[in-house]
């Protein structure tokens, strides 16, 4: 019988090393779970959201305050989306710092990285859909970054914003990207990514002949561990949803669009901080793309130094140069994010 997709991801047995929490951190599985939560709550939220400038913020407030459990729906959607970004980043760092990007997993590494980028855009578009005073930066500075790209910037901006300045067309375009464009790409690439995990031999560990740990776990055991992780994740999500509501602000009024005192969404704070340094194209487009390129090239930088025998553990020797490179990129991004937050406390 042809195995189901579930069985494809859960073979009868797998090496215990592939499912060890201190190795994988469970981040891949968590990302899948959070994607399911964000997708399901997203479907629910869609029933209430009205994508017009006049109604958008109002419908979000109605969902939050008037619809029974609407606040829970929205807060779960918000928090699962935020945690998904965090989990995806940690997943990426785990892969980099354990050398799991080595062939044959190069393609899947790039698929995973593109999933992170898609998630960032999904979060960004979702954040703009609030259409309230809290999204000024995204609407003005964020979209203007596109305009700063030489030659094609103007056209790209018009395509994205739907006019010479943010308005009703912008909202409907972001809405369409959020619900269809990005979502479909996410589903396609996501399923491909999961499929490739098994096609590439499961989570990276040394080949059987080099493996010291011969222990294997069953499909049932794997499912049980995943179930446990999901339950814990759900508990965290529900508590976050109860205790820390997703942000809300007064509706965006026409003519009040100004980016001066607005913070970018947390995952783009580092770009906002970079923009303070100078030319928007260089600091807002080229440098972030450069950082992405560096991370994308990880599997291609001296892969021969890393031996398959070193897989399955953290910080293998052969991948030291790559680890240092990515650590620097991550450190700079964290530093810039903290600098962007600093004025809040002074």
């Amino acid at each position: 019988m042809r195995p189901s997709f579930y069985d494809h991801l859960h073979p009868p047995t797998i090496p215990a090393a592939q499912a060890r929490l201190r190795y994988t951190l469970g981040m891949g599985g968590l990302a899948v779970f959070l994607t399911l939560v964000v997708g399901f709550t997203g479907i629910l939220v869609t029933f209430f959201y009205v994508p017009t400038p006049e109604q958008a913020a109002k419908s979000v407030q109605e969902l939050t305050f008037l619809v029974p459990f609407g606040w829970l729906m929205r807060n779960l959607h918000f928090w699962s989306a935020q945690l998904l970004i965090l989990v995806a980043i940690l997943h990426l760092l785990r892969v980099v710092f354990t050398g799991a990007y080595l062939p044959p997993r190069r393609l899947n590494y790039l698929l995973g990285l593109s999933l992170l980028v898609i998630c960032l855009f999904l979060d960004f578009t979702g954040y703009v859909l609030r259409w309230d005073e809290g999204v000024h930066w995204a609407l003005v500075a964020g979209t203007n970054l596109v305009r700063s790209i030489p030659l094609i910037g103007g056209g790209l901006y018009t395509a994205l914003v739907g006019g010479s300045q943010p308005g009703a067309t912008t909202l409907i375009r972001f809405y369409a990207w959020h619900l269809f464009g990005l979502m479909l790409i996410l589903m396609a690439v996501g399923i491909w990514h999961l499929f490739r995990v098994r096609r590439d031999g499961g989570i990276a560990v040394p080949p059987p002949e080099l493996r010291s740990d011969k222990e294997r776990i069953t499909r049932t055991e794997l499912s049980r561990r995943e179930g446990l992780a999901m339950v814990w994740a759900m508990i965290v999500l529900i508590m976050l949803a109860i205790l820390v509501p997703a942000p809300l602000a007064p509706a965006l009024q026409e003519g009040s669009v100004s980016a001066s005192e607005n913070l970018a969404p947390w995952f783009f704070l580092w770009v906002q901080q970079l923009l303070k340094l100078g030319d928007p194209f260089i600091f807002g487009v080229l440098i972030p793309l450069g950082a992405l390129l560096i991370v994308a090239l990880v599997p291609y930088i001296t892969p021969q130094r890393l031996s398959p025998a070193e897989l399955g553990r953290w910080f293998p020797h052969g991948g030291r140069n790559v680890q240092i490179l990515v650590a620097i990129v991550a450190g700079v991004i964290i530093l810039l994010t903290l600098l962007a937050l600093l004025p809040l406390h002074t």
């Binding site: 407030q61 109605e62 305050f65 339950v231 809300l248």
Partner: protein
Amino acid sequence: MRRGLILASLLLFVAIGFAVLQQYRSLKPVGITPSLTGQVEYCLTCHADLPVISQSHPVETFGCVMCHGGEPIALTADLAHSTLRGGGNPSDLSVVEASCGGEKCHSGTPQDNRDHIQRVTTSLQATYAGAIAQVRYAFGAQPAPTAQMGVYAIDGLAAFDPTSESSPAIQTFGNNCLYCHLSAEPLVGDEYIRWSGCSACHSPAPREDGTLVHQLTTSLVYTQCNKCHNRGNYSLLDVKFHSRQDAPTDRLHDYYQPIAEFTRCEWTLDCADCHTRQEAMGDGHIYNNKKEIQYIRCRTCHGTIDSLPLTYTITDENDLALRLAFLNPKVDLKVGDTILMTDKGELLWNIRVLPGVEGTTPTNELFSKATGQRFTFSPVMGSTCQQKPDQQDARYCHECHATQR
């Protein structure tokens, strides 16, 4: 592992229980759809106990958001109040047009008597143009005490900026003496506390315990006026405000400062019983000082030895006098009633001419706007008064009628 799964599942149920409890404990929205906006608003969820602000602003018609702004659907205080106009006071002059304006509300035409905002914003009480002119003239900054500047620029008045004045005294005036105009924060102290904008006169000040009174009224007690007036004097010697020191305990002494001279009706009635809308709120023109806009004299109500006070007979259901009486129904006015009228044609809707015997001098009755108390009085004509008709300033009347205190 199995035990861990059971424990985690139990905790998940607890978390879900918390969510259900949270939903159960959340506020039950109380909505209202005001007829003027047609947009549902949920302010009454928290503010259901607020009294209607005035009978001319019923909540079913106006709701809250039309005047106050704010987020109509939000049920958290921070968000709901984040876009309130003028904080808790939508009548502050900086936002009054958005809050109280509108052709059919308070920025209509003078013909409809709905030009309140235009009148108030150009009035001396709002611009402070009279005091600014007097002080700038006194310290040599302008050749005559004519209104040239206001606390904001409007209708030919420039904005008064103390920092660009060369005279240190005028700069000090700017720092020490701009507490009484309608946009100013009042001086510190219970005796000065009041709102800004329209509410400076038309809403009671917050109570001593800090709670607010949700009311718009034309039933103005003299103490409302005394939040700014009769509290002391600004001295040109040190360019400072000096509060009155006599600590009055009864109305006779509280009404005016010790230096003033007045008659019994002045301290028995309230300021608003005699002083008119145009005097207090302006008439849309710029005046140089209080004397120019203040025109009510004793003769306005009492007449002179050879003339009766002017009168006006109500002929129309939509008459301004009836509208004003509706706002403060202390007197039961109706079409056909005759009331007194000022030289400028302002209707004294709280003073009715009593029907009398033909050929005799008519008697008038005044209803206190604050208390509804009824006072009857007769005109000068036919009395023993000998005051010359061309000498009608208050000081002449005070010669005989001033109250001893």
